[in-house]
Amino acid sequence: MADTGTTLGAPAERREGRDKVTGSARYAAEQTDAGRVHAWPVVAGIAHGTVRAVHTGAALALPGVLTVLSHDNAPRLAPADDATLAVLQSPRVPHRGWIVALVVAETLEEARAGAAAVRVDYDAVPHDVTLTDDHPDAYTPEQANGGSPAHREQGDPEAAFADAEVRVDTHYRVPPLHNHPMEPHAATARWDGGRLVAHDSSQGATTVRTVLASLFRLAEDDVTVISEHVGGGFGSKGTPRPPVVLAAMAARETGRPVTVALPRRFMAALVGHRAPTLHRFRLGATADGTLTSSLHEVTTHTSRIKEFVEQAAVPSRVMYAAPHRLSSHQVVPLDVPSPSWMRAPGEAPGMYAVESAMDELAVEAGLDPVELRVTNEPDTEPDSGKPFSSRHLVECLREGARRFDWARRDPRPRSRAEGPLLVGTGVAAATYPVMINPAQATAHGTPDGRFVVRINATDIGTGARTVLAQIAAHTLGVPLDRVHVDMGDSDLPPAPLAGGSSGTASWGWAVHDACTRLAARLAGHTGPLPDDGLRTHADTTGSADADSPYARHAFGAHFAEVTVDTVSGEVRVRRLLGVYAAGRILNARTARSQFIGGMTMGLGMALTEGSTMDGASGAFVESDLAAYHVPAHADVPDIEAHWIDEEDPHLNPMGSKGIGEIGIVGTAAAIGNAVHHATGVRYRELPLSPDKVLTGLTGLTPPIPTPTG
């Protein structure tokens, strides 16, 4: 790429920053088209059964109510590949919180009142929402999320474990977790004749367009989906969600633009969740800590309408050398809402188990946990045998240890107290795979020396507009302020979603290719440009998705210091540090924010976040932001994020790896390991809330929660 000094990697300010701090950035529910009306869903109060009758008379009699849609009268959609989008198509209720009706009214107040006035009769049948690792319906799926094989085995792990000099045989439990982006899922749709235009809070409008076209039997050209500003998603907006389908239906029925914004407490059941994972983990090692056997067995749940298997055993295929290995998943279909992606699916819960088990092994073998990890650093990817395109985990551990002053740590558990507080430190590694998907982009050079890049990328808060402009400016060899980026609209060249930490790599590659071509055209052009400038197009199909002979992953190390209050059982994080090796960092400012944001979510996973399912009702009990505790300001110390320069020629033209998810991976283990170091008690179920911690400190047996979870 052409060298423009500091453009790539520079801490450029977010391009939409001014709009966001002044309130002028508009999100999906804020499209106040003339005549726009509101719709409010009615959700199922049973966990399993069918709708016998939807009584709409009282609602329709209320002022302002325009219509009530249910499976009785809603437009028929084409069959949906994703069963969660087949809304109002049948009387079947697959889980509590499923949408059974939609009230459309002139105002929000009238829509909410209308929804409250709808009465639904059900034929309920018995349900089962309780996950256990010996559930009779458990089965081994063909694949886990992301296409990973469900089961992998090398050597004779059971025998090697039995023969090992040092053994850890343990269980971990990660509860259901909810993404809860600050902007609830929302869409505003209108029909212009036969064309559908939707503003959707989505991580990828291209896919939403494709799905809407299919559901409503339209040509893709007759659908436009706009996702200009998106208030976070963390995976939950990575697939199309019911609001955009409902808004399009309601707009067609009423002839009015319609906004559907999910009430917060409906989200737990309707936008995916991180499925609970029950882990059995066994590690066998020689006395010096060299792993001989690793067995990671995961049990999780899925819904009755969709098989989603949290790939939590996958990271143990990547992390440490061991000649004998097993990693497997089994899944139990239950009458629960459909799980889906939440920031680092697989890696986040999986690495909690891997890195907790490694800490247990370090304690068991009397070894330093950093050195134990270094000892087991593999030469090639343990499962595939492929060489790593780059792997600098050891450097991250060493750099983190140096910055954290790890050498001064007294390894003895419960060795440090400050009055009633026990203080401890912990470490955990992090990993996240490199994913890249094909995209298209155009670049346009204008006679006045400006450039416009067009691509349907999405900014869910990552700073995509900014970093794509940096990539374009760098490639073109022009100042950053000469480049404009058009994105967040499905009429633009198609692009994959902002997810899997793949956005910048995928979009950036297409932008790079389009700009490289434009630079070549400009270099070969003599005289003034034509009035409409020069345009180039790039499509990275075939290159971005080519098989790589390398195992490609980002790595990192997390270090945490905690205090545990022996009076209250309250755990607070005092220090949290991450060091990453994630290829080339393309924008130091926004990258640091993503790392810190990921660690913050990991802090929540460790200490405050957890959802429980009521066995009797099938509802997630912690369904609002008062009960589901995402970390607040006061929980979060001045988190540090650093990275090491990593040159990797086997990734993409920018040399970057994804950075959006790795911050959450391993953070919960680092904090949990620190809690063990502080207290001498090993807690194996998240979150480490005062009830569990105090119970452990008191030497009582922690209660086994009977509701699933």
Binding site: E13, V21, G23, R26, T107, E109, H180, A261, G461, P637
Partner: protein, 195 residues
């Protein structure tokens, strides 16, 4: 029922007062708005749906996230829990009006906190940001007025301004959730402004 609900003339553009609707005058970002409101309408929805001021966000609609934070008569509050009808005559400042309200500002400028949020990258998705900024404006004023917080030393003298160190800022802004995890940068942005 009450004597005030029929006391003023109706605004014909928005219906007329009746048992369930009343006329109110809200002074929003310095500009008076007289309108007929559904008694069920909370301030947040009136701002967003009636006045097209969408800066205040709806994150939870139940006072559990702070995205809807605005200033009513100079105090930060959750707009989602305040029936607009109860605010007749109140002065309301939203994120859209902060810059104009800052001393000596012209329309083009940003409020110092807005500028600091951009410079410190104190947000990612931006959805909680207007609430964070309005909350910080209110919190700074509260500390200046001597309001203690949960982390203020109980021995600190009553009635004196409370210095805002990082722990004070974190505690005072804890009513504003940020799922992107921009908290450390928000603390720095607030520190920049109070320095």
């Amino acid at each position: 029922m009450g004597s005030r609900e029929h006391s003023m003339g109706a605004d014909d553009a928005t219906g007329s007062p009746d048992r369930h609707h009343s006329e109110v005058t809200l002074r929003v970002n310095g500009k008076p708005h007289t309108l007929i409101v559904d008694h069920r309408s909370v301030l947040l929805d009136v701002l967003r749906e009636r006045l097209d001021l969408v800066g205040a966000k709806k994150g939870c609609d139940h006072g559990q996230c702070g995205a809807c934070t605005v200033l009513v008569d100079g105090r930060r509050v959750n707009g989602c829990l305040l029936p607009a009808v109860a605010l007749d005559g109140c002065d309301i400042t939203t994120v859209e009006g902060l810059a104009a309200g800052a001393a000596g500002a012209t329309g083009e400028e940003l409020h110092p906190l807005q500028r600091a949020f951009v410079e410190r990258d104190a947000f990612q998705c931006g959805y909680c940001t207007p609430g964070q900024i309005c909350s910080a404006v209110g919190a700074i004023a509260e500390a200046e007025a001597g309001h203690p917080s949960h982390v203020t030393d109980p021995e600190a003298p009553s009635g004196q301004p409370v210095p805002l160190g990082p722990d004070e800022i974190r505690e005072r802004l804890s009513g504003n959730l940020c799922r992107c995890g921009a908290y450390p940068n928000i603390v720095r942005a607030v520190e920049d402004v109070i320095r």
